[in-house]
Amino acid sequence: MKRLAFYAFLIFFTLAAPFLLPDYKTQLATLWLMIIVAIAWDMTGGQMGYNSLGNIFFYGTGMYVAALIAIAIPFDVGEYTNAFSDKIYKFTDTEYFLGAFVGILGAGVFCAISALVIGYITFGLRGPYFAIGTLGVAIAAGELVSNWEWAGGGQGISLPVFPYDLELGKIMFYYMFAGTGVVLFLFARWLYKTRFGAAINAIRDDEEKAEAMGIHTLRYKLTAWSMSAFFVGVAGGISAFQLIHFEPLETAYQTINLGIFMVVCVLLGGKGTLWGPVIGAILFHLFKEVTWNYLLGWQWVALGVLIVVTVVYFKDGITGWLKLVRPEWFGIRVEAKSQRSPAS
């Protein structure tokens, strides 16, 4: 009952937030973006033990795929991206919304497939080598795309602005991010309770043992990363339309910003837990906005201190620490009572 009330409150706040805090619509949308990439990162990093530093690849690729699909429906991409001010490309409403819908979904699908391909190569790497290997993929992709003239090169791509009232557009983007985030949260909640969830946990805790027990480790690793990449790709696609203009190195493949932030969110909240990434993303986003506003010039120092304090004193994050002091909140028991209903 208490739990039901808690979820009801959360749903109400999620739905009402852009109206309760009308000046912070874009901020709240960005918060949801952080939550999405944090949960998606935890799916492989926390639950499966594969710490990817290259998940930003799917964010950037999602942006590009969504934008290119949306442009390609009505126009020729090469002409569009290299046009100067003498030629104006006008999207009709249908072209805009159809392009956004197909583009964002296409971004998710493309990223899911590319995770299978990249994973097939990089999952031979373990531990820190996997982290560095995936980081390399993301950096290389950013450099490649910034030299790809057909896709706008280093200039990036400009998309049309929301065709109606801009405030309405902000609300729409908020709901798109929030909707994706809620779907991802529920998906993760379900996934971690299945046999699949148990298998990826086994891979995290002892991959050699999992292999010796006949678990199809590569298949599970690829599937998990692919699902995670789908959601990051969708989030990237939405960002492309929200930001209107983006360029490859600072916005799309922003390895040192969002690419690291998503990891810090999870470390702060607690790896390998359902709520950890969510709590971590909210606290991190607040921390980041406060320091960027009031400690300008020192914001990176403050961020560094936060990372050091988390890693040294809260190794398992906030939820990990809570698990230690309040194990009953997590349903951890040691007495010999059945895990299911008393009747069984």
């Binding site: 309770k193 699949f196 148990a198 002892d206 895990q339």
Partner: protein, 247 residues
């Protein structure tokens, strides 16, 4: 009787050390076969060769008439040939029930089936097997907090959960409280007779292996020294020499 594991002239060297030299043996289907030998005689090397941990230099290993000497650990495990480790390997951060649930036979599952939740019968099976090895009371403890002997029992239960065709056990009684060893012999025999699992056991404890095995192979210095029933092995002067040192 047909043999389920056929090892034929297998050799394995590590640098200049000859760990296994032309070893041939057969594990009969549905039986308990023992493997003994002094320390360093190549028992664990032979186990590792069979389950694919390292490539062999020459010879052939067949499981259910299929050549497995070129296959990887995972491929062999998926055929239903499972091993336990001398140093136990369990998921120490999880509790015993979770350890058991992870050990469900994933090799028999399609990917789509892995997206099902654990069913009531999965839990029942986990509970029953934990009860079978005597860990039922401790099933919500994290596996890492169990004693070494209990971890061995848990690993044994996990192996049974996996429904293997054949199970290779590397020193199942090492580190187990002597008063519990009789119970363990009983359980190994029941696993063999009730669940129909072929067992291939490395064991140092002579009393255990003599009570347990239908047939025993003895290794010494990387070579097969003797084979036969427990009584034959017990009375074989070469085996006694290998253990106590010939002059």
């Amino acid at each position: 009787m047909t043999s389920i594991i056929e090892v034929d002239e297998v050799s394995k060297t590590f640098g200049g050390v000859i760990a296994n030299n032309g070893i041939s043996l057969q594990v009969e289907h549905g039986c308990i076969t023992g493997l003994i030998g002094p320390n360093g005689s190549g028992k664990t090397t032979l186990f590792n060769s069979i389950v694919g941990y390292h490539p062999i230099d020459s010879g052939s290993i067949k499981f259910e008439n299929e050549e497995i000497s070129k296959k990887s650990v995972q491929e062999i495990a998926r055929l239903g040939l499972i091993r336990t480790f001398q140093q136990t390997r369990i998921y120490s951060a999880m509790n015993c029930v979770q350890n058991m649930l992870i050990s469900l036979p994933h090799r028999k599952m399609k990917l789509s089936e892995s997206f099902h939740r654990h069913t009531g019968s999965d839990f029942d099976k986990a509970d029953a097997l934990l009860d079978f090895v005597g860990l039922y009371e401790k099933r919500f403890l994290t596996a890492g907090s169990l004693s070494f002997g209990q971890q061995k029992l848990l690993e044994f239960a996990m192996a049974l959960m996996n429904e293997p065709t054949a199970l290779l056990l590397d020193e199942p009684t090492a580190g187990i409280n002597p008063t519990l060893i009789n119970g363990l012999i009983e359980r190994l025999k029941r696993a063999n007779s009730e669940f129909g699992i072929t067992l291939f056991v490395i064991e140092h404890n002579m009393r255990v292996i003599m009570n347990l095995a239908d047939k025993i192979y003895c290794l010494a210095h990387g070579e097969l020294l003797a084979q036969g029933s427990p009584d034959e092995i017990r009375n074989d002067p070469r085996v006694i020499d290998a253990y106590l040192g010939a002059n």
